[in-house]
Symmetry: C2
């Protein structure tokens, strides 16, 4: 029930591509990031401000230099969204880049135990630390935008008005984060109670225990009033269905409770 | 389509309860926080570390002094979860408390426009800045745990093994965050494209545009193998159903697209 994993201590994701071998841990962390619709990106706005600040952004792990790199290899995190003037300046002004913390969390289930103090969530979370720089090369920017767009709906890039114009690229901010460390945490399984409670018949006879699976659904696509294409294309339809089904299946499987035959559906 | 709102500039949520009048903006920010299953809490681990770090936690806005305060009034944020030794020490050692940034984001829809550069999400997000201290008073801790437990499933506190024992309270960490500023952002509506694209017949004839609603579902509750209660209690069942339905309805309504009669369900 649950595990924590971290980047190999010496992984800096910078110099020697083959010096750091793929590990399952790195793949797990990267896959949590890549399957999250939102990343929370924190940074310090300046020495006069005691508070870090956080922006919700969208991003993907990838390697522009080695586009075929898989999830277990050292990757950069490309993020897109509203980049404030302050954040852009900080990223530009520092040679190394702006220190950021990127986090992603998915709730997979509510764990309802006998006592509130044993309640929990099934969840997956990942945290990355790294240095952010603005991407200035148009080719790299376009590559990153394509990767990010297709993470929202696979094949969307190819099926929308592309390639981008030069002005679109120049007005778009993408941050590339060189990762220096990271960790992930997964909690799965069912309820976990203390002996004094699960041996107390008065308690077990009245308190229902179990897991409520939690999952994100993509609903029926709704055409815009300006849309001119008669039918929802297959690449959208099939993604909407498969993603919703996979999320549900993951949440149910994460409970690790075997359902009685008649309840399996 | 979309709006940004902020805490009144001088709200410090500390001294005079009636000095700061309820505003819709504050209520909106608080309600995003309270309806989020996960809060991302960022802080700076120390001067030698350039990176802020982020922990996924669970929390609710509330007022222990004025428990009947509504969402539009100044409230504290009570958060619970894994509080690292470092975080606990920092919160204890500083008189004012540990400066933290709390953020909450919900995705409500994928906005599929004609060009990737006009793609977006419907979403709601809130960010709060404040000072975190560990709650040391047992009565306040129990009050906060009850509020947080019932935010996961309403009435769960009353329907599980409570009240807590003294040892349970003492081994539980709750942070109370005095809020000094905050802001929220909501994006809703349908696609928004540029003239050059929506007037281009070649583009509009082949690119489907619209919104894919995104919403979180609570699945059928799965009893634990140790559960002794025959049926899923009504307070769980009805919450599971109503929350899933409300999430779906919000996501569809946020598109602001009027569905043809036969497609309304």
């Amino acid at each position: 029930m649950g595990r924590t994993f971290t980047y190999p201590k010496r992984s800096t994701n910078t110099v020697k591509r083959y010096a750091h071998r793929a590990t399952y841990d790195v793949a797990a962390i990267h896959s949590i990031v890549n399957s999250s619709q939102v990343l929370h990106v924190s940074f310090n706005p300046g020495p006069e401000d005691p508070f870090p600040t956080t922006l919700p952004m969208i991003g993907q792990m990838g390697s522009f230099e080695y586009p075929s790199a898989d999830l277990g290899e050292p990757l950069d995190c490309y993020i897109h969204g509203y980049v404030s003037m302050r954040m852009a300046n900080l990223a530009r002004d520092s040679e190394q880049g702006l220190p950021v913390c990127i986090s992603a969390t998915k709730v997979d289930g509510l764990i309802l135990s006998l006592t509130p103090f044993s309640h929990s969530y099934n969840y997956r979370s990942a945290v990355l630390h790294g240095y952010a720089k603005l991407v200035t090369d148009d080719e790299e920017k376009e590559w990153a935008m394509k990767m990010i767009t297709n993470s929202v709906v696979p094949e969307r890039w190819e099926n929308s008005r592309t390639p981008p114009e030069k002005s679109e690229l120049s007005s778009t901010s993408i941050l590339k984060v060189k990762i220096v460390s990271g960790s992930g945490k997964v909690r799965d399984g069912a309820v976990s109670d203390e002996k004094k409670d699960y041996q107390d018949e008065e308690v077990t006879s009245r308190v229902w225990t179990g897991v409520v699976p939690v999952y994100e659904v993509l609903g029926e696509p709704i055409p815009d009033s300006s849309n001119k294409v008669a039918k929802v294309p297959d690449y959208i339809k099939s993604y909407v269905n498969s993603r919703s089904q996979e999320s549900r299946e993951y949440a149910v499987a994460a409970t690790k409770i075997t359902l009685p035959k008649e309840e399996q559906h």
